[in-house]
Every structure is written in C-alpha cells, then in structure tokens.
C-alpha cells in the first residue's frame, strides 16, 4: 500500500474477523456456555435436592411428631384411662370395700407407672382418701384418709413399703380441708367426662403436676370423684431425651401458649416464679419455638420452614390426641440436621463443576495458544509465499531484461531488483580496477530516491581493510558499519551521506579472483533472500568478466578518465574560435562558417533561466550586472572548451559544438564538460548573489540543420530535432540546476560521466525515450 493511502484494500478484515470469531470467540463462547450450563445444572440440582430434602425433612418431622404424640398419649393415657378403669372398679363394689379396691388399684399403678404421682377418691359427703408415693425415691407408699378425731379434721397417714408392709402411721391437722372444694372435684360437676385441671407446681419437690378426674356414682348412691395426679416432669424428661434430627427438640404447649412440658422446664418455672400462667415462650430464650408458635398461630397446624439468624429451621405444630384440650406439640430442628448431606452433595457437585471448569479453562487456553500459533505460522507462510512471489517476479524482471549480459548495456534492473527484494536503502555493484588499486561503482540504486548513480571510486590506500575483506571472497554482514574496522572507512566515505548503518557485502567471483562486490545498505537480509543476491552477484560477475574481455585496455588508471575533457579540448585546438551569436556575436567571425547544411553530430546545450522577480531600480541594476557576469562566464567557458557557438535568446542560452560536415567525436565531450563547468560556475555566481539556482540545462547530441542566415550581419542559426530535444530537456528538467540529457548523450558519454536515470518520456516524432540527469564526471 502506498504510504499516503488511508485504507489498504489488500487487508481482508472480514477474513480475520471471521477467523478470530472461529478460532477464539466461538471456543470461548462454548466454554462460557459450558460453564453457565454447569452452574445452572448445579443450581437446579441443588434446588431440587433441597426441595426434596425439605419434603423429606417434613416427612421425617411428621414421623417424629407422630411418634412423640403417641409417646405423650401413652404417657398421659394411664391417667385418663386409669380413671375410667378405677371408677369402673369402685362403682361396682359395696361401699365397705371401696377403699380397699382404691388402695389396691392405686398401689399397683404407683408401682408400675412411674409418671403417676397419686390417686384421690372423694365423695359428696366429704370423704377423702389418697394414695401417694412416699420416701426419697418414691418407692414407698403413703395412704391418707381424712378423719375426724377429737372434733378435728385430721389426715391420717399410713406408710407402707413396696411390698405392702405397714411401716408407720401419723396424723396431721387437716384444718378445714374439704375435698369438694378442690378444683379437681369441682371441674367434674355435671359431667361424666374426664376433666383435667391446670398444671400446678409443687415448689417443695419441684413437681409439675396435673390432675385428671372422673365423677361417678357408687352403689350407695353417693357421688364419687376419682382423680389421678400425673407428673409432667417425667414428660419433660422424656421430651428432653427425644432427638429431633441432630440438635432439634420438642415442646408441649397448651392452647394459651403456656409451656406444659419440654426441655429445661424447671428453669422456665423458676424464671416464671413458679407460676404456670407465666410460663410462656420467651423469644429471647426460645427464639425458634417462639417463631414456630407464631407460624402456628397464623397458619395453623403443619410443617413450616423459616430463616432465623441466617439459619434455616423447620418446625412442625401438631395437636396431641388424648391429652388435655388444646395441647400442641411443637417440634423444631435446624434444616441442616436433615439437609446437611444435601448441602454436602451440592458442595461436592460444585467442586466437581469447578474442577471441570478449571480443566475446561486450561484446555481453552491451550486451544487458544495452539490457534494463535497456527495463525502465526499461517501468516508466516503467507508472508513467505508473498516473498517468493516477490522474488519470482524480481527474477522474471531480471530475466526479461534485454541484453542482460551485454556489459555495454547498463542493466539498472539488477540494483533495482536487489533493492526491492531485500528492501535495501541502497544497492550497488562495485568492480575492482584490473590492478586492484581501486574499486569503481558501476551502478548504485537508491530506493528511497528511486535514483541511480555510479562512478564513485575508492582507492585501496583509503579502504585497505574493506578491500581485503572483499578479496577474501566471503560474504559478510555488518549491523553497524561504523564500528567494524573492515567497514568503518567505507561507512565514512560512502554510507554516511545516505545515513545508512547496516552493510551487507557479497563479493563477485570471477575466474580465480574476486572481481568486485555487491553492496547492500540497510537491507533486510532474511536467509531465504541470499539465493537471489547470489543470482544477481553471478550475473554481475558475468557482466564484469565480459567487460574485461571486450575492453581489456579500457582502463588505464583513473587519470585517463579525468583527462578526457582536456584531451578533447586539445584535439579541438585547431577548431575556429567560438562564435557568439546575437548580442555576443562577433560578426566578422561568422565568416568561419563556410557552409550551411546538415551537421551529423552536433552537441546542443540549452540553458534556460526562469524569469527573475525584480523590485526597484537597484535590484534591476544588480540583476543586469549578474546577467552580464553569467554571460561572461559562459563566454569564457565556451572559449576554453572550444565550443562552436553560443547563442543568446531571451532567457535561454544555446551552446553548440560539432557544427562541421565531418563528425567530431570530441564535440559532445567538450560540451558535457562545459555544461558541468557552467553549472558549477553559474551556481556559484547565483549563490554569491544569494539566489536560488534558477536555471535548468538540457543536452542533446545528433544531427542538426545549421548555417549563416541573413545578409548584414549574418547570423548563424541551428535548428532541427537535436535543438528541439535539448530545449525539451531543459524545460522538463527534474530540478533547478540539473542537466537533463537524452538517451543519445547517455549512450555516448556513459563511460566518462555519471548519470541518473530519470525514466521514460515521450516526444512527438521521436516516440518513447529515456531521460537521464548528467551528475558528474567519472
């Protein structure tokens, strides 16, 4: 792409985007989707498991609840069922044996049912008997009857061992005790159902007791009430021992929320001041049960789940059949007790998922790395392919050059293609002079300026180390030519001007010796490029060998080249003095022109000055003076070089040489030399006047019409294609101060002067041709 272009059409964005999409985004997307799928499945599985666990927990709790309810029923059953049995037994016996039946039943029950505390029997006449536990461990029995002794009501106590052996008796004052006023007696009034009293506490023995009572009629027609005291302490102990899950427990409440049985019942009673009515659930001490009870009150019986202090709990509220009215069994347990295995399972699943994700990430990373690597290789391959195409094209370009091996034909293509293929700043071909005392640059191509030059000479005395390095015959590459002793002088003399640093030197091998070298500056010397450089080196070698064979005596040291111009001037010594036409012309001299006609080999130099801008008289005068100086200089140089004539026409000067019927081979040499001298002189004069080089020069060589025209005075005039082309060259010169010449001039002078190729041009009636810039003498 040209450096100026904004968009490079050769870049295929869509392809790279697609490639990135295919190679990177898609796998990553798949990976992300995989991870999301694993997470979703994990979460779903966790939720399903949790729901299952919740359901299972509820069912388990339900089962536990049933079991506890059954246990509680069983616990209370002896009291309620015992009432029925005992009353049934007592009502059918004669009054005389009622006490006996009562004591034997009570005794048997107290011995076998631990939760039963005592039994009462009273009638509507105020008779009262009692059997209760006695002794420290409650194994002995105490039978008490309400008697009147001495006009006073006394409780007569008889004490028995477990075997029924009387161990003692005692009386104590009953004061005005009347069983008919007791709650257990009164709450049976008008009912033949079993009635329960409110629980009440015995702070002395810390018993929490409830009484169930049943009213019935005896054979004698008296109304009797049989009552059973049952201790709830045992129920609490039982509930305390029941495990609900790992750490859950149970509690029994009545319909008003008072605690009937449960863990730490005694502490609760103590805190409530032994008042059962104050033994309600405190959210501070029983937060879970309090919350569960709240749920029950709002939503009724059944299992409930809730979070408390960031922990999930399950509670279940159930009625207690066969118990006092309105009793509720409340169970609670942390959900984790049941769901911990599910949590563990979920955690394991998540850990597995994390492992899978980690593996996936590693694999994705490897995949991406592999893709990047293969992409890099593909790019490298594409670049190499492009390079191969590039080189193949370069080889074709070299191969297609006509007269490639003809040393008389300048094969500029060699250096050009070398520079293009190796991307060198400058590529040049140097040859040794036959005695090896110097190297001459045959052609040097500067890629950045797209210009050829050549003819530079390096003597062995200056660059001995470089010469020796080349003569060793081995190619060498120096990254920084300035610091390598072999190339430091070469860098100073040749490379510094171009600002290059890296140097690659490939010696050109001839028959048994090194004939020169291909030198690349700032080249990109990839290993695969060496073969192309070798190819060009071989071609250059053949060209140099051919040149030596064709013209073995062409070089006789450098002084012969330098003296060409002087020699040409000497040879032209017998020519007539220079003619200065128009204002500069010395009229009598025109007589020297003897004949008009076609001159076969005329060298015409046209110097065109651009129009000056003057402002004021002083400047005009200075300009006129300068013009005169320039004209004088041209005059002087023309005379020195024995030019035929110099014609002044407006802002043009036309210098001509070789206006003779016979071809004069020195004419073009003298003219070229004059052109270079004039350029130098004019530039110096213009620089002294602080002016830019405002002139261009054009040179052509060929046949022209010429002759004196007019009568008095006669003026010499020259016209024809050569003159037109010289003018064209002057007009179309690349830059101010340059001498542009035609292909014909180049062909004649290429051995003696340095030229830069300017490219092809088209001229009417002449067609295509090459233009060159005359740079310097060799």
């Amino acid at each position: 792409m040209s450096s100026d272009e904004i968009v490079d059409p050769t870049l295929q964005h869509d392809v790279s985007v697609r490639r990135v999409l295919l190679h990177l985004v898609l796998p990553l997307l798949a990976l992300v989707l995989g991870i999301v799928a694993v997470i979703v499945i994990g979460v779903h599985s966790y939720r399903t498991t949790r729901a299952g666990v919740e359901s299972l927990t509820h069912e388990l709790l339900g089962a536990v609840q049933h079991y506890i309810a059954q246990e509680v029923s069983d616990y209370i059953m002896p009291a309620s069922a015992g009432n029925v049995i005992a009353s049934g037994m007592i009502e059918h016996v004669p009054p005389a044996v009622q006490d006996k039946v009562f004591y034997s039943y009570g005794g048997a029950m107290l011995r076998s049912v631990p939760q039963l505390q005592s039994f009462y029997l009273a009638d509507d006449a105020g008779r009262f008997v009692l059997i209760t536990r006695h002794g420290k461990d409650g194994k002995e029995q105490e039978r008490t009857t309400l008697q009147v002794k001495g006009g006073r009501k006394v409780f007569h106590h008889d004490y028995y061992t477990i075997e029924g052996v009387k161990t003692g008796e005692a009386d104590d004052d009953a004061k005005d005790y009347d069983p008919r006023t007791r709650p257990w007696y009164q709450n049976t009034a008008g009912s033949n159902e079993i009635k329960w009293t409110q629980p009440y506490l015995f702070p002395t023995d810390k018993q929490f007791v409830m009484t169930s009572s049943l009213r019935f009629k005896g054979q004698d027609g008296h109304t009797l009430v049989f009552a059973t005291n049952i201790s709830l302490n045992e129920l609490s102990t039982f509930l305390d021992h029941i495990k609900v899950g790992k750490s859950g427990n149970a509690i029994v409440l009545d319909s008003k929320g008072r605690v009937m049985a449960g863990r730490n019942l005694m502490q609760l009673a103590e805190a409530a001041g032994w008042d059962p009515n104050k033994m309600v659930l405190d959210p501070k001490t029983h937060p879970v049960f309090a919350r569960g009870y709240d749920h029950y009150r709002v939503r009724g019986f059944g299992p409930r789940s809730f979070s408390l202090n960031k922990k999930r709990y399950v509670t279940i509220a159930a009625p207690l059949p066969g118990s006092s009215e309105g009793w509720i069994l409340l169970l609670s347990a942390p959900e984790s007790d049941f769901a911990s295995f599910a949590k563990q399972s979920s955690q394991q699943s998540l850990q597995f998922a994390a492992v899978i994700i980690a593996f996936s990430l590693v694999l994705a990373g490897l995949l991406i790395r592999q893709v990047r690597r293969s992409e890099r290789n593909a790019r490298l391959l594409a670049r190499q392919n492009a390079q191969i195409t590039h080189e193949t094209g370069a080889v074709q370009q070299v191969a297609a050059t006509p007269r490639l091996f003809d040393p008389t034909n300048d094969s500029l293509v060699l250096t050009e293609q070398l520079a293009h293929v190796t991307n060198a700043h400058r590529a040049s071909i140097w040859r040794f002079l036959h005695d090896g005392s110097a190297m001459v640059c045959n052609d040097s191509y500067d890629q950045r300026q797209d210009a050829h030059s050549g003819g530079f000479e390096m003597s062995r005395s200056e660059l001995d180390a470089f010469f020796k390095a080349v003569e060793e015959g081995e190619a060498f590459i120096v990254p920084d030519a300035a610091v390598d002793e072999r190339t430091s002088q070469f860098e100073r003399l040749v490379m510094r001007e171009a600002g290059t640093h890296m140097l690659a030197v490939y010696p050109i091998h001839g028959a048994g010796s090194v004939m020169g070298a291909v030198v690349l500056e700032d080249a990109n010397m990839a290993p695969h490029l060496v073969y192309f450089v070798d190819l060009v080196t071989a071609i250059a070698g053949m060209r140099l060998a051919a040149a030596q064979q064709n013209a073995p005596d062409a070089e006789h040291g450098t002084q012969s080249n330098a003296d060409h111009a002087a020699l040409a001037v000497q040879q032209a010594a017998d020519l007539p003095a220079t003619q200065f036409d128009n204002m500069l012309m010395r009229a009598p001299e025109v007589a020297a022109v003897t004949a008009s006609g076609i001159y076969p080999a005329v060298a015409v130099l046209v110097i065109t000055f651009s129009d000056p801008v003057v402002d004021g008289e002083a400047e005009t005068e200075a300009l006129l003076k300068l013009t005169n100086q320039l004209a004088s200089d041209v005059q002087r140089i023309a005379q020195e070089r024995k030019l035929f004539a110099v014609e002044v026409a407006g802002h043009r000067l036309i210098c001509m040489a070789g206006c003779a019927a016979e071809e004069d081979p020195t004419a073009i040499i003298r003219m070229a030399d004059a052109a270079l001298t004039m350029r130098e002189t004019l530039m110096a004069a213009l620089a002294a006047a602080d002016l830019e080089p405002v002139f261009t020069m054009g040179l052509d060589y060929g046949a022209a019409f010429g002759g004196p025209v007019g009568a008095d005075p006669q003026v010499f005039n020259l016209w024809g294609q050569t003159v037109s082309l010289a003018e064209l060259m002057a007009q179309g010169a690349a830059d101010a101060g340059t001498i542009q010449v035609t292909e014909r001039v180049y062909a004649v002078l290429r051995d003696r002067y340095l030229f830069r190729s300017r490219g092809a041009f088209f001229a009417p009636h002449l067609g295509l041709g090459q233009a060159y810039v005359l740079a310097a003498r060799r």
């Binding site: 968009v7 490079d8 094209g393 370009q397 088209f762 009417p764 067609g767 295509l768």
Partner: protein, 233 residues
Amino acid sequence: MDIRTVGPLLELNKAVPSFEESGLPPVPFSMRVMPGECVVVEARDPENATQFADMCSGLVPLDEGSVKFMGLDWTELHDREVNALRGRIGRITHRASWPTFLGTHLAITLQQLHHTNRPMDEVVAEAARLSEQFGLPGLPVLRPGLLSSADLLRAGCVRAFMGRPRLLLLEDPLEASPVELERAFLSALTDARDKGAGVIWLVRNNAIWQGYQQGVTSMWRLADDGLVAVRTG
C-alpha cells in the same frame, strides 16, 4: 514499487458481464494487463467502451468469471476496500462525470483528498502542475459546467493522472481534442507507465493512437462477440 513485481495488474478471467445491467455482450471476456503495459481497446460504440471500463472497475455485475485488480477480486471485497481500490484507478470517461455542485479544482483533487492523507498543499501543487502540463493556465476553479468542452477534457486528464494511478482507464480523450493536448497526454501516459501503471486506452478508431504505436503493448477490439485480439504490425 509493490506493483512492479507481483502478477497481472488487471485480469479479466472469462468474465461474463450482465447484459441487463451493462448492455455488453454476455460472452466471456479474458484479458490481462501487466504493470507498465499499454493496451489499446478499439470500441466503436462509446457506450460499450464506458461499460467495459466500468466492468474493469468492478462496477458491472458479472454472471460468471471474475475481474481482479491488483490480484483482488472486486466481488470478494467489502465496500470500504472496494472504494479504496477504486481510488487507485485513474479514469477519463465519455459520459459527463463531474459533480455540478463543486468547483472543478475540488472535483480534480477530491479523489486524492478522499483516499490519501497527502497534505492539501501537495495535492493542489500537483493538480496545478498537471493543469499547466495539459495546457490549462492553472488549476480551474469554475464549476465544470462553466468550462469549455476542451478545457473540461484537459481537466479530465488532470484528474485521471492525479496521484499515482495504478490503472488508467482512458476513454479516448484525444478524440476531438486540441492538437497540443496529445503531447501532454502521451507524455503523462508514458510517465505513469514508467512508474508501473497499466493503461487501457479505449479508442474509436485506429488513427488516434498511431503516433504512439511503438508504445502500445497489445491491441484488442470490443465487438459483439467479446474482446478480440488484433495483431499489430
């Protein structure tokens, strides 16, 4: 430099243009233009010549085959790349192709200003230089509609040679042109070729390019049966 060594600059590979869209004969067109080559295509019908140039520029849909410019198939590129690639083509068209709402100077410099990041001064200086080369006193600033047809032709030449065109599609500017334009045109043409540009010169008759015969690489005729190679002396 890139185009000197890579393959064909323009390659028509059995490209069958859509008859409905272009009016060109729906037959396979095959042609190659290498860098630096000048191909003359004789087309009697100027409309066909324009359509052929359009086809080379990737503006005509193809029924079959492909047209590749600098190795890139027009149909495989996206708009952004297609436009950039078209920016490398210099064209002189028969049909009026000047924006009526802009001055000619803008119309001439627009392509370079749009496709490149060259400084404005540089582009203007080049346009002015080319204008002088093609016989205009300077860069024309009037609207194209106000220029004479000869000056518009000159402006067209300036526009075509602006920048560094890789391909020149020239629908015979020398026809009915001032005589002095020929020299400037051929000079610019040669210069562009020397820098590696390929040229397709569409002419109506042979007489026009005869002066440049030695510079012509190959000669074709655009007929009803497609492109026919013509032997040149």
